[in-house]
Assembly symmetry: C2
Homo-oligomer: 209 residues x 2
C-alpha cells in the first residue's frame, strides 16, 4: 500500500508516520521510485506497537527505539533480552548503585535472587526508602503477605507470555508489565473500598444494634 | 520551641516552613509577641506529614491542603472521608463521567460494588482502556486471578489501618495507598524475573540435556 493508505489503515497522521520513519522507529517501505515507497502489514503492526509504547505506555522516542531494537534483534539469551527490555520502562533511577541494601534484605527474606543489575531492584530500593521517609516502613509481616500474592499475580502474567518467538515474548513482556500496573493499582484501591465499606457498615451496625 | 528550633528538629529550611504557614498547610504557632510564635510537637508531626505528602507522594500544595483538611476535620461518615481523601491521590481524570462501562463489567464479574463516584472506578476504566489500546485487553481469566490476589493484598492493608481516631485512619490510608503502590509494582517485576529465570533455565537444561 502507499503511505496515504497506511495513514488511513493505521489512523496515524502522515506527519507522525514520517517522524517515526525519520527517527528509525518505523522500518522503511520498499522503494518503488525515488520518491515513493510501498508498505505492508508489518508496517501496520509496527505502527500499532509504536503507538502503544509511545502513547499508552508513555515511553520517550529514544526508549521506544531501544525496545524495538530488542524486539527486532533479541540477544541470544532470552532472559537477558527480557530484562533489558523491561528495564527501559519507568521509573528511572538517577544514579544506579552497586548495592541496594533495603531491596537486598527484602529479597533475601522472601527467598528471591538479589541481583543489583536488575532495574527493578533499584526501583524497589527507592520505593522502600519512600515508605521509610513517609513513616510507614515495610514490616516483615506485610512483606511476606505481599510477596505471596504478588507471586500469584506474576504467575498469571508469566503464563500469558507467548512462547512462539523471542520478538513476541519481548513485546508482550514490555507491554504487559507497564499496562497492567495501573489496572492492579486501581483494583487495589477498589478492594480497599469494598473491604472498608463492609467493615465500617458492620461497625455502625454494632454501634446502633 | 522557637521557629529556628523547629528548623533544626524538622530539618526543613525556614523559607519552606514559612511557605507552609502562608499556604495554610502548617498550623500557626502560639503568638508570644507581635513577631514571635512558639511551636510544639504537633508542628513537628505536621511537618513530617506535609513532607511525606508533598515530597514522597508528590501531591501538589492544593491537594495536600485538602488531605490535611480531611485529617483535621473528618466528615461524620468515616467511609466517606476516607474515599474523599484517597481520591486526592493521582492519577487524575480529565473529566469525570457518569458511567464507566469497562470498570462496571469488571466489578460485576468480581462481585464488588460499582459506584462511579469512587475515583478509583474512573482510574480503572482508564487503565482498562489503555490495555485495549495496547492490544492486550484484560481477559476474564486474568481478571479473576488478579482480583483474588489483589483482595489478599487489600486485606493486609486494611488490617493495618489504625482504628484509634479518624484522623489517624485518614492519614494512614492516604500514605499507605500511595506509598505501597510502587513497592508492589517493583515486587511484581522482580517476581517476573524470578519466575522467568527458573523457567528459561529449565528450558535450556531440557534443550542441552
Amino acid at each position: 500500500m502507499r503511505v496515504s493508505e497506511l495513514v488511513d489503515v493505521s489512523g496515524i497522521p502522515l506527519a507522525t508516520i514520517k517522524y517515526y520513519l525519520r527517527e528509525g522507529l518505523l522500518m522503511p517501505g520498499d522503494a518503488t521510485s525515488a520518491t515513493q515507497s510501498t508498505y505492508g502489514d508489518k508496517h501496520v503492526r509496527r505502527l500499532a506497537l509504536i503507538r502503544a509504547l509511545v502513547d499508552v505506555v508513555g515511553l520517550s522516542v529514544q526508549k521506544t527505539r531501544e525496545v524495538l531494537r530488542l524486539i527486532d534483534a533479541p540477544e541470544p539469551d532470552l532472559f537477558e533480552t527480557l530484562g533489558r527490555a523491561v528495564a527501559l520502562l519507568p521509573p528511572y533511577l538517577d544514579e544506579p548503585a552497586d548495592d541496594y541494601p533495603r531491596a537486598r534484605a527484602v529479597l533475601t527474606t522472601i527467598g528471591q535472587i538479589y541481583d543489583p543489575r536488575y532495574a527493578a531492584v533499584g526501583q524497589l530500593e527507592r520505593a522502600l526508602e519512600a515508605a521509610e521517609a513517609a513513616g510507614i516502613p515495610m514490616t516483615g509481616e506485610r512483606l511476606r503477605g505481599y510477596a505471596e500474592h504478588v507471586m500469584g499475580i506474576a504467575e498469571i502474567d508469566i503464563s500469558s507470555v507467548p512462547t512462539g518467538s523471542a520478538a513476541n515474548a519481548v513485546e508482550y513482556s514490555v507491554l504487559g508489565t507497564a499496562i497492567y500496573e495501573p489496572v492492579l493499582a486501581a483494583m487495589r484501591r477498589l478492594a480497599h473500598q469494598d473491604l472498608a465499606s463492609k467493615r465500617l457498615a458492620a461497625r455502625s451496625t454494632e454501634a446502633t444494634g
